[in-house]
Amino acid sequence: MKWDEFFVTGEPMIYAADVSIILVSLAIVIGLTYFKKWGYLWREWLTTVDHKRIGIMYIISALIMLFRGGVDALLMRTQLAVPDNKILDAQHYNEIFTTHGLIMILFMAMPFVIGMMNVVIPLQIGARDVAFPRLNAVSFWMFFFGAMLLNLSFVIGGSPDAGWSAYFPLASLEFSPTVGNNYYSLALQISGIGTLMTGVNFIVTILKMRAPGMKLMRMPMFTWSVLITNVIILFAFPVLTVALALMMFDRIFGSQFFTMANGGMDMLWANLFWVWGHPEVYIVILPAFGIFSDVISTFSKKNLYGYKSMVVSMVAISVLSFLVWAHHFYTMGQGAMVNGFFSITTMAIAVPTGVKIFNWLFTLQKGKISFTSPMLYAMGFIPIFTIGGVTGVMLAMASADYQYHNTMFLVAHFHYVLIPGTVFGVLAGMHYWFPKMFGFRLNERLAKWAFWLIIIGFNVAFMPLFFLGLNGMTRRMYTYSASTGFGPLNMIATIGAFVLAIGFVVLCYNFFHSFRHSPRNEGGDPWDARTLEWSTPSPVPVYNFAKLPNVKSQDAFWHAKKHNVPLYEEGPYEEIHMPSNSGQPFILGVIMFILGFSLVFSWFIPAIIAGVGVIIMLAVRSFERDHGYHISAKEIAATEQKLRGDTV
C-alpha cells in the first residue's frame, strides 16, 4: 500500500479536516500540560469506575459525535440545496451519508441513551453503583475506541461508502475495494461488544440491586424502559456481532458468505442486519419514552397515567421489534405471504405505541403543568412523533411501500421518529438531570431559545422531504437536474437544517453560559420531582446513598415529601464498600483499537500481537486481587453534613 492510498488525498475539505484534527489534538495536549491536568484526567476520569462519571463521559462523547454527524448532515443539505450542485462529488456524498447514519445511530443516539442510563439508573433504584462497575468502564472504552476508529476512516484509508446498512453485494470487496467497509465491520464490532456488556450489566443491576421495598411495579418508568431496552440489547446485539464477523471474513479473509459466486447469498446480509437493526431502533427509542414519562409526570405534578399499561406496551413493543425486520426490504422479492406477515406485525406496533401516547396525554390532562425546558421537549415530542408514527404505518403497508420505498418520504419518516423520539428524549433528559450531574441548572431562557430554534428548524428541514419523496425524489442521490422541480423544496429543507444547527449551537453555548452564571446551592431537588435520585444531594457523593432508602410506594420520594414520612432510617452511618479505580479498561480499549486498525489494513502481525495483548489483559484481570476500599462512617457523616448542611 502506498502513502497516498493510506492517507485520504485530493479534497481540500479533507486537508482542512487533517489540519483541524492536528490543531485540536495539539491544543488538547498543550492545554493539559500547561494546566498540569494529566494526572487529574487519568485519576478522576480515564480510570474511573463510578457510574456517574462514566455516564458523563458517554454524554460528552455523544455530543462530540452529534457535532460530527451534524456537520455531515449540513454538507449533504448544502449539496442538495440547488440543482446540479458541485460541492461534493458522488463518492464523497456516499461516504458522508454513510457515516452520518452510522455516527448518529451508533455513536450519538446509543451512547447518549447509555450515558443517561449510567447517570440515572443506580440513583433511581437506590443503589450505590451498577452491578459490575469495572465491566461498565470496559463497555465505555470499547464504545469510545470503536467510535474513534470509525472517525479515523475519514482521513486515513477512506470512509465506508455503501450506506449505513452496507448491503451486499455493494459492500463486498469486489464493489467497494477501499478499506472503508473494513472500518465499518471492525469499529462497529468493538463498540457493539461494549454495548452487549452494558446490556448484561444493567439487567443485573435493575433486577438484583433495587433498594429495599422497590418492587418491580414500583420502579420509575425510566428504569422500566431501561430494563426492557437492555433485554433487547442482550438478544439483538449478538446477531450484529455475527453479521459483522461474517462481513469481516468476506472482506479480509476471502470467505463466500455474501458473494455473488460460489454459493454466497447477498440477501443473508440484509436479513441479519435488520434482525439486529430493527430492534436497535427500539433500543434508542424506549429509554426516551421512559424519560418523557418521568418528565411529564414531574412537571404535571401527577402520577403517570396508566402505569401498568405503559409497562405492558413496552414489553409488547420489545417482542414485536424482533418480528418486523423484513419490512425494510419489501421490494426485494420475498413474495406476498412474507410481505403480508411483516406488514401486519409492523402495523401492530402502532397499537402499544398509541397506548403510550394516550397515557402521556391523560397524564397532562388537568395537571399543574410547568413549561420548563425538559417539559417543552416532551410536549414537542408528542405531536411530531405522531406524524412520524402515522407515516410509519403508511410505509408498513407492503403494497403501498412499493411507491415510497427508498424515497425522501422514508428519510422524512425516520427523522420524524428518531429526532423527536430519541434526540428530544435525551435532550429533555439532559436538561432534567443536569443539576443532578453538575449541581446547577442550565439557563432556562437560553434552553428555550434553543428548543424553539430546534423544533422550528426540524420541521422546516424535514416536512418538505415528505413531499419530495411523494414526487419521486429518491434518497442517497447526490444531485438532481433543475427539470425535476425538486429545487425549491430542497432549498427550504436546507434552510431548516441550518436553523436546526443554530439551535444546537445555542444549546451548546448554554453549557458555558450556565457554568459561569447559573446559581449554585439549589439543593438536591430543584424541580420538586418524584423519584429517588432527587433525594440525594447535588452533585451526588461518590457512594450515592449514605443509607439505602426505604421504598413504600411508586414515586417514593414524592410520597415521602407529601406525607412527611422519612425515606431513610434513623441511626448511625455504616462504612461503605467501594470498587477501586483501574486503568485496565482504558488500556484494553487502546489495545482493541490497535487490533481493529491493524485488521482494517490486513496487517496481520500487529493484529496478532494486539490479540495476544487482549488475552494478557484478561489474564491480568483474572489474577488481580483487588477488593476495593471502604469509606468510613466518620467520613460519610462529614460528607453528608457538608452536602446537606445537617445530619440526616
Binding site: A131, F132, L196, G199, V200, N201, I203, V204, L207, K208, M209, L234, F235, F237, P238, V239, T241, V242, A243, A245, L246, F249, D250, F253, G254, S255, Q256, F257, T259, A261, N262, G263, G264, M265, L268, L272, V275, H577, I615, L618, A619, S622, F623
Partner: protein
C-alpha cells in the same frame, strides 16, 4: 459484607450471586450468537458452488472422538464442582485438570480435521457452505480455546488460594461455560455432522 451461610460458597456474597446471574445472561447472548451461526449454516449448507459437499469431506472417526472427549470432560467438570462443594481441593483440581486435558484433546482433533479439509482443497474461501462450516466450528473451537486458558488460570488460583468466595465463584462460573460449550457441540454433532452424513 453480608454472608449467607445457607448457600454454597460460590453464591454467598451479593457480588458473587450477581456474577452468576450476570453470567447466565451472558450465556443467553451466547445462545443467540450460536443460533445465528446455525441459521447461517442452515441457509448455506447446500450452496456448495464448485466445492465439495459435507458428505464428501466429513470423517466419522474424528467426530466421534471429539464428541466422546467433550461430553466426558463436561462430566468431569461436574465432578470437579461436586468436589468443591465437599471442600476437597485436590480431587477438584484433578477433575478440572482432566477436563482441560480432554478439552485440549478435542482441540487437537479439530485442528487436524481442519488441516485435512484444507489439504483436500476445502478452504474458507472455496464455497459459502465451507465458509459457514469453518466459522461455526471455528467459533466453537475458539470458545473451547478461551475456556482452556481461563480454566488453567482458575486452577492456578485455586492451587494458591484454596477455596475462597472468589475462587469458588470463578470455578462455578467456568463450569457453566464449559457445560454450555458441550450443549453447543451436541447441536453441531447432530445438525452438522449427522445430518451432513445422511
Amino acid at each position: 459484607m453480608k454472608i449467607n451461610d445457607s448457600l454454597p460458597l460460590e453464591y454467598r456474597t451479593e457480588e458473587n450471586s450477581n456474577k452468576i446471574f450476570g453470567f447466565w445472561l451472558f450465556l443467553g447472548a451466547e445462545i443467540v450468537l450460536f443460533s445465528t451461526l446455525f441459521a447461517v449454516y442452515f441457509t448455506l449448507w447446500n450452496r456448495t458452488g464448485n466445492g465439495p459437499t459435507g458428505k464428501e469431506i466429513f470423517e466419522v472417526g474424528g467426530v466421534i472422538w471429539e464428541t466422546l472427549l467433550l461430553l466426558t470432560s463436561s462430566f468431569t467438570c461436574g465432578l470437579g464442582i461436586h468436589a468443591m462443594r465437599l471442600n476437597l481441593k485436590k480431587p477438584m483440581m484433578v477433575f478440572f485438570g482432566i477436563t482441560l486435558l480432554m478439552g485440549l484433546g478435542f482441540l487437537g482433533i479439530e485442528i487436524t480435521e481442519f488441516v485435512n479439509y484444507v489439504h483436500e482443497g476445502a478452504t474458507l474461501q472455496t464455497s459459502a457452505f465451507l465458509s459457514s462450516l469453518f466459522v461455526l466450528l471455528g467459533t466453537h473451537g475458539l470458545h473451547v480455546t478461551m475456556g482452556i486458558l481461563w480454566g488453567a488460570a482458575i486452577l492456578l488460583q485455586v492451587n494458591r488460594q484454596g477455596f475462597t468466595d472468589e475462587t469458588a465463584n470463578k470455578s462455578f462460573i467456568f463450569s457453566l461455560y464449559w457445560h454450555f460449550l458441550d450443549v453447543v457441540w451436541i447441536f453441531i454433532f447432530s445438525f452438522v455432522y449427522l445430518k451432513g452424513l445422511m
